[in-house]
């Protein structure tokens, strides 16, 4: 029984993992300076934010929802946290603590609102979060009248700029990795996770089992909001500035990572491990193509092609799994 489950997991994540490895091998041979330690650090830095956003997005998509507001929420959380960090008269550590709290709390509240409004009035989360995308972006711009905030305490920015293991692995990447691990644990080993998957497939079954699906669905949006807030804090710590235009379109990259990772937009199917690999694929592709001197426009076209090819491959994978299960 155990081996069958393991085999299923390999079948599920293996294909996408293989695609990532092939991509890395391809660039290693064709792009000079791709396979260098410094570039590995670049890639890890580049995929951190998208990984964090995409992990939160995975929760929402697993219950067949979507959150278009994460890029804006990230910016709003960042601007609010940045404003708090610059408050006069607070001891530095208190300002940092309060700033982190503000960033996460804003993400949490907005995420909760996204979920609650969708459930309370039975609205598609696509619409609600589209509205929230505008609200949060407007709020981010309004907060400083579109000005960028500079010069944060070094105690705050050190974290985002520190690398370990021979200066290869950024600390912020480890945060993203830990988030992937914790989320994987929650989704596969706990009742909460089990119900998330069940809701994504058959909400009625969960209701009849005596649970209230709306509670769990709102929880996924809240989680997604918190990860957006976290992404904002980490982005601010890494770039050492807070700009209200950060994260424009970030929701689409996050959704792309989730989809490439094999999670179904219809809910109930997918994993955060797949999402992580999806984020890696987008990151490696962008990085490799840039190094090869491919221009921005072509890169964008190729990223789009990869997304479509990934879902087509997933279609065949699902068919294959069905056939082997039936055999």
């Amino acid at each position: 029984m155990k081996t069958r489950r393991t085999a299923n997991i390999i079948l599920r994540e293996g294909g996408i993992g293989l695609a990532l490895i092939l991509l890395i091998v391809f660039f290693a041979f064709t792009a000079d300076n791709f396979a260098t330690l410094a570039n590995v650090r670049n890639i890890l830095n580049q995929i951190t934010i998208n990984t964090i956003l995409a992990v939160g997005m995975t929760f929402v998509i697993l219950v067949a929802g979507i959150d278009l507001s994460v890029g804006s929420v990230m910016a709003f959380s960042m601007m609010a946290a940045g404003t708090v960090l610059k408050l006069e008269g607070l001891p530095i550590n208190a300002a940092i603590g309060l700033g982190i709290f503000t960033g996460l709390a804003i993400g949490m509240v907005i995420g909760f609102l996204n979920g609650w409004i969708s459930e309370q009035w039975k609205l598609p989360s696509f619409i609600v979060t589209l509205g929230m995308l505008n609200i949060a972006r407007g709020a981010a711009l309004q907060l400083t009248e579109a000005r960028t905030i500079y010069q944060f305490p070094t105690q705050f920015t050190t974290f985002g700029t520190t690398t370990i293991f021979n200066e290869i692995v950024p600390l912020i990447f480890l945060v993203a990795l830990a988030l992937v691990g914790v989320s994987w644990f929650i989704l596969t080993k706990t009742v909460f996770g089990r119900l998330i998957y069940a809701i994504g497939n058959n909400e009625e079954a969960v209701r009849l089992s005596g649970h209230t699906p709306a509670v769990y669905k709102v929880a996924t949006f809240t989680i997604c909001g918190v990860t957006a807030g976290l992404a904002g804090l980490i982005n601010m710590s890494r770039l050492t500035i807070a700009s209200p235009i950060v994260g424009n379109g970030a929701e689409l990259s996050a959704i792309a990572a989730v989809i490439i990772g094999g999670t179904s937009l219809f809910g109930g199917k997918g994993s955060v491990i797949g999402t992580f690999i999806g984020a890696c694929i987008i990151g490696v592709l962008n990085n490799g193509l840039t190094i090869m001197g491919v221009d921005d426009f072509t890169r964008q076209i190729l990223t789009g092609v990869v997304i479509i090819v990934a879902v087509i491959l997933d279609y065949y994978r699902a068919k294959f799994v069905q056939q082997t299960a039936a055999a």
Binding site: R4, T190, A205, S209, K269, A325
Partner: protein, 255 residues
């Protein structure tokens, strides 16, 4: 057969706006017996079982469970009493495996947090074995790949896992072929032989006569007859379903 009913309804009524879905229905389910509930569409069969399951609150009447007056206000209340309902659409999550479905919403935990997969798997296997469900190849396969009969077997097995005393089956054979219907009816019989009280809703009188110990006929929200299959005929039951004598409901137009 004069054993005390597990569940007894006395004079229960339910109204939806202008529709009198149930009117002063008396009904009982006894341990070791299969009670069939028959009636035309709109007779009140589903309303009655949803009332028992706590999905609808009954307007009037009394509910007794093992002789005690009870008030059932939701699926959790009925489950706590030992009432399990197998719904027509099965309420299975296709993406979860057999074990995940059998324990959905009532997962075993270890250290208060982790899903205890090993224990759940063992209990799922032993429950399926005890019901002689032999057609499930692996309890770790997703139910999406299972046949209608297998899915029904899992839904039934899920219902008997919880020390249940009363199992209600809503049209368990409606979507099944001949061989699979056979398997499910055998399974229903085995539930009663274990001492459970079973209520089965079906439109198929042939199945009903084969598996049930008593037949309750509902018509337009009222109970119009109760039969023992060996002492009646299908024609008589059909007559009751279509033309059974009704009491006048105060304030209602002639139906």
């Amino acid at each position: 057969m004069d054993n005390q009913p597990v569940l007894e309804l006395r004079g229960v009524s339910k109204r939806f706006g202008a529709v009198q879905a149930l009117y002063r229905v008396d009904f009982a389910a006894r341990p070791g017996e299969v009670m069939a509930l028959v009636g035309d569409n709109g007779a009140g069969k589903s309303t009655l079982i949803k009332g028992i399951a706590g999905i609808y609150n009954l307007d009037e009447g009394e509910v007794y469970f093992e002789g005690q007056r009870v008030h059932i206000h939701g699926p959790r209340d009925s489950a706590a009493l030992g009432i399990e309902v197998v719904y027509q659409d099965l309420a299975l999550a296709d993406n979860l495996d057999v074990v995940g479905n059998m324990f959905l919403g009532r997962e075993h935990l270890q250290s208060g947090l982790l899903l205890d997969e090993t224990r759940m798997e063992q209990e799922a296997i032993s429950t399926l074995d005890s019901l002689s469900v032999t057609t499930i190849r692996s309890v770790r396969q997703a139910v999406a790949g299972l046949s209608g009969g297998q899915r029904q077997a899992i839904a039934v097995a899920k219902a008997v896992m919880w020390n249940s005393k009363l199992v209600i089956l809503d049209e368990p054979t409606a979507a099944l072929g001949v061989a699979q219907t056979r398997q499910v009816l055998d399974l229903v019989r085995r539930l009663a032989d274990r001492g459970l009280a079973v209520i089965i809703i079906s439109h198929n009188l042939h199945d009903i006569f084969e598996v049930s110990d008593r037949i309750t006929v509902l018509r337009l929200g009222q109970k119009v007859a109760e039969y023992v299959p060996s002492e009646t005929t299908q024609q008589e039951v059909v007559h009751a379903i279509t033309a059974g004598e009704l009491n006048t409901v105060p304030g209602m137009a002639e139906a």
